[in-house]
Amino acid sequence: MNPFITIKELKEKLARKEINQKEILDFYTQRIKKYNSKLNCVIETFTDNLNNTNSQIGALSGIPFIAKDNICQNGRIASAGSKILSNYKAPYDATVISKLKEAGAIPLGRGNCDEFAMGASGEYSNYGVTNNPWDITRTPGGSSAGPAAAVSAGLVPFAIGTETGGSVRQPASFCNLVGLYPTYGRNSRYGLIAFASSTDQAGPITRTVYDNALVASILSGQDKHDSTTLQLPAQDYTKDLDGKLPDNFTLGVIKDSLNPDGIDPQIIDSFTKAISHLEKMGAKIKYIDIPMLKYGVAIYFIISRAEGASNLSRYDGTLYGHRAQESTQLHDMYIKTRQEGFGQEVKIRILTGNYVLSSGYKDAYYNKALQARNILRAEFEKAFQEVTLLTSPTVSMLPFKLGQFVGDALTMFLADCFTVPQCVIGTPGLSLPCGLSRERLPIGIQFLGPRLSEMLIYKVAYAYEQSTGHYLNNPAGYD
């Protein structure tokens, strides 16, 4: 079987009885076995599932997937890539997992990720660095590093990641895949190990736009276990994918996308070609200035670190997870447990978060960032009165060398300038392939829309994808 087969094609094969569920599971399990030592993208493969086909009849019957390690899967370890949760067994399924199981999908394992989803390169996991299948000396992106690398190398047909500030779209872009950050509240956060609760969302990582729309439809919907989910029923994003752009479609190109100061020239080149292509397809192009965009990363930094520090205060060794031994006193146990259990980047983020929340600085940083978030949101809302969707490259640099930003994480995070603003304001964005660089490294384009515009985003992305075929490029050496 072609390892780069899509979910859609797999479903057709199943329907024609050319393959059965067990053969599919065996196929992917073998592939993980063969290639995972090279990529380190899967922390655990659920081999006990192999004889357990899922008898649920649904849109994903018999389709295996892996979930990022910060998503609870009943009875399985959920370590969030951290030592502090290395022995934590999830006592329930996250809502996104139970929805996938109800749709017939089969959980095949846990995907490696940066500790507590705090990273952009997959280098901050307690379970080792994940490599990019396109070039194993480079990062697959992060923090959903394992999920993206696994789909890219054809070790699973799809994966579920989480995004707090680019963590689905950026690795999707670095691995020539499709990744969605949905409207905040579209998908339940129940069972996602929290990083920054006001921006965390689960999203699918797939090979094609159709597959992504299919999985995202299943994940969507209100959940009584998450009061921040929107009062909307589950959606069917696949129903309007006809390969055509919408009538009177105006695409807004974010002006900063073309700034040679800070964006790789090869990315600008691919992106510019994509814009011309969309124009030929009938899109009306407008150039849109979003002045607040330059503050996007700073606003995101403050809000996400503040919420992250608060969420991670619960890890103290009392109820579950790692506990430091030989403490004579309770407070000593907390401190030792956290000292031993958290990695460096997580500690830096906790410290930053508590700094911006601390007395004397809260107004200058945290409260100010919340107000700035209002202005950022207003600027995007204004832009969406002028254009149907906005577009930009997903990331400002090509997949970089592992270790390139050791000691200079700030520079690495600045490359998230086009993804984090959407997370801060909770509006949807989809990244998809728009070409390869000279050294055959993937480049991604993203389409951004107003709240609840997923259907429209998928329609446009599908039309662009089908008309260009960049998704057909696969990494060499995984046949």
């Binding site: 934590y88 009061s227 700094y355």
Partner: protein
Amino acid sequence: MKEFNKEELLKIAKLSALKLSEDEIETFVSQLRNVVNYITQIQEIHIAQEAQEVRNINITREDTVTKTNYKEIISQAPQKQLNYFTVPKILDEK
């Protein structure tokens, strides 16, 4: 605003229930200083009257008791006695 320094790092570490090694103190001071310098740019943003208010609404539900399998939860305790989580002593004997 003054530069982020070691004294501030130690204060924040205490608030964060983190004890830092000498090596960590050295690297973290410079890394946090970079981050603080970077995020300070948001001071330039002019906040108009209409953007000042941060609106969030509370969503509540009935507080109904549901059955939970507490044994599964307690089985994950790092240390336990019967159905209780145990921890080192909270108060000093002095």
